[in-house]
């Protein structure tokens, strides 16, 4: 074979040994989705085979040579019913099956670890609860449910990890969620799949799935000094939010302790469930979100805080929720670098050790 151009030969060998036909299954949802996928492939193959068999066999049997005179047939209600009902039944199975998976992918479990991902032209910025941030990369522990809360700073992006079979659009001005639980240690692609401008195809990142030990090591090495909640706390003070939201009985703004996860009655009479999206909206568009019993005096922070800042504030407000903090501690203590017991008290005390850590790093 050497007399063939060695370059071509090299390419051929390289290609044939390097020709993936199916993506790795690296998350809990992947086998479930693939089961449906294979079912559909099977149905499609059977359907296609039937059609091709019909076409080929009729073409042979009833070609003009063999069958010079056509027999006029009007149609058959029975056959029509058959090929209406059987595909319909199969499609309905796919509908139910698919919807079950869809709801699973987009309904994060309560104990998932939340990582914020901000999309911007043309990079992904991940913000971990411990304050680590990374660009075009995402380090996560294996076998642990991870919730990704997505937002975009400019245009639509789409956060896609084919190996996990998950994908969610990052939308400007709104949080969206997706979750997954990686099952295999390894490095996989993150793609932006929604066309987002010139360097769309460069908006590629890597998700690194690590064993719990490696992950802890990584967390410790890449900490930026302050957790998101701590950053938020500083921002909260510097924007003078605490002038009104100070929890005192005579405060001009509602107390924010325990507000996350509760149902608020608004001044307009509506009730609202407080989640990340609500908190974000309430910071940016306060007068549409006035809690009952308060006056609309809060200024808007639209355009004054970046999405990162909003995320920090949201995380801080969440941290004022003792129950939430307990949950969070129960779930992530083992993973966080500072496995502190002080988590229940979100007081300025926490700032001290982390500041120290920050100095160590620098």
């Amino acid at each position: 074979m050497d007399h063939i151009s060695p370059v071509i030969w090299q390419y051929l060998v390289k290609w044939m040994t390097n020709l993936p036909l199916f993506p790795p299954e690296a998350s809990k949802i992947a086998p479930q989705m693939d089961a449906l996928y294979y079912f559909m492939v099977l149905v499609s193959l059977i359907g296609l085979t039937i059609v091709v068999l019909l076409l080929v066999s009729f073409s042979i049997l009833y070609s003009r040579k063999r069958h010079p005179v056509a027999v006029q047939i009007e149609g058959s209600t029975l056959l029509e019913a058959t090929w209406t009902i059987i595909p319909l039944g199969l499609f309905l199975i796919m509908f139910v099956w698919g919807s079950l998976i869809y709801f699973r992918v987009y309904t994060p479990p309560a104990n998932a670890m939340n990582i914020y991902v901000v999309g911007k032209q043309w990079m992904w910025k991940a913000e971990h609860p411990g304050g680590q941030h990374e660009i075009d990369a995402l380090h996560i522990p294996v076998n642990k449910p991870i919730q990704i809360t997505l937002i975009s700073q400019d245009v639509f992006h789409s956060f896609s990890i084919p190996a996990f079979r998950v994908k969610r659009e990052a939308i400007p001005g709104r949080y969206t969620n997706v979750w997954f639980e990686a099952t295999q240690v390894g490095t996989y692609h993150i793609f932006c799949t929604q066309y987002c401008g010139t360097n769309h195809s460069a908006m590629i990142g890597q998700v690194v799935v690590m064993s719990p030990e490696d992950y802890q090591k990584w967390l410790a090495e890449s900490t930026s000094g302050a957790s998101l909640a701590q950053n938020g706390e500083r921002l909260f003070a510097s924007l003078s939010c605490n002038a009104c939201h100070n929890g005192r009985p005579d405060a001009r703004g509602p107390s924010l302790a325990n507000v996350y996860g509760s149902n608020l009655t608004l001044a307009s009479g509506q009730t609202a469930h407080v989640d990340e999206a609500y908190l974000r909206e309430a910071i940016l568009n306060p007068s549409d979100h006035v809690t009952q019993g308060f006056t609309p005096i809060m200024p808007t922070y639209q355009g004054q805080i970046s999405e990162d800042g909003v995320i920090s504030l949201v995380e801080y407000i969440k941290s004022l929720n003792s129950n939430y903090r307990v949950d969070q501690t129960l779930n992530t203590t083992a993973l966080l670098p500072e496995s502190e017991g002080k988590a229940t008290t979100a007081t300025p005390k926490t700032a001290a050790p982390s500041a120290k850590q920050g100095m160590v790093k620098q």
Partner: protein, 120 residues
């Protein structure tokens, strides 16, 4: 919706004496009297809708405003636009436009209205 119909009951099929051979299509000619009544009715309804808006009726305010608008629009379609006297095909055309408009709004709202479901 029945108001305009009832009001003009009996006058709707009123052929004027001078309408014998005047035109080339099988169209029904609507007497000016009906136009005058319809026009006056529309103006009254306009006044009514402005009046209704000045009372605080809570959630009923937009409902009443839209209801009056629908009554007015229906009147215009039926009489000014002669749909009451037109062929089934025209009626079907009007209806299909309305239907698809409702599909556009209804199915779009099916997204907007249920986004918050399951969040609590």
């Amino acid at each position: 919706m029945s108001t305009p119909n009832d009001q003009h009951h009996g006058t709707g099929h009123d052929h004027g004496p001078r309408e014998q051979d005047v035109h080339d299509s099988a169209n029904h000619i609507v007497a000016p009297r009906i136009y005058i009544i319809v026009g006056a009715f529309l103006l009254v309804m306009t006044g009514l809708t402005v009046l209704a808006a000045t009372f605080d009726l809570g959630a009923w305010n937009p409902v009443i405003a839209l209801f009056i608008a629908c009554v007015k629009a229906t009147t215009v379609v039926l009489f000014f636009m002669h749909v009451k006297y037109s062929s089934k095909l025209t009626k079907l055309t009007v209806f299909s436009g309305l239907f698809l408009f409702l599909v556009l709004i209804g199915l779009t709202l099916s997204d907007y209205m249920t986004r918050a479901w399951g969040r609590w």
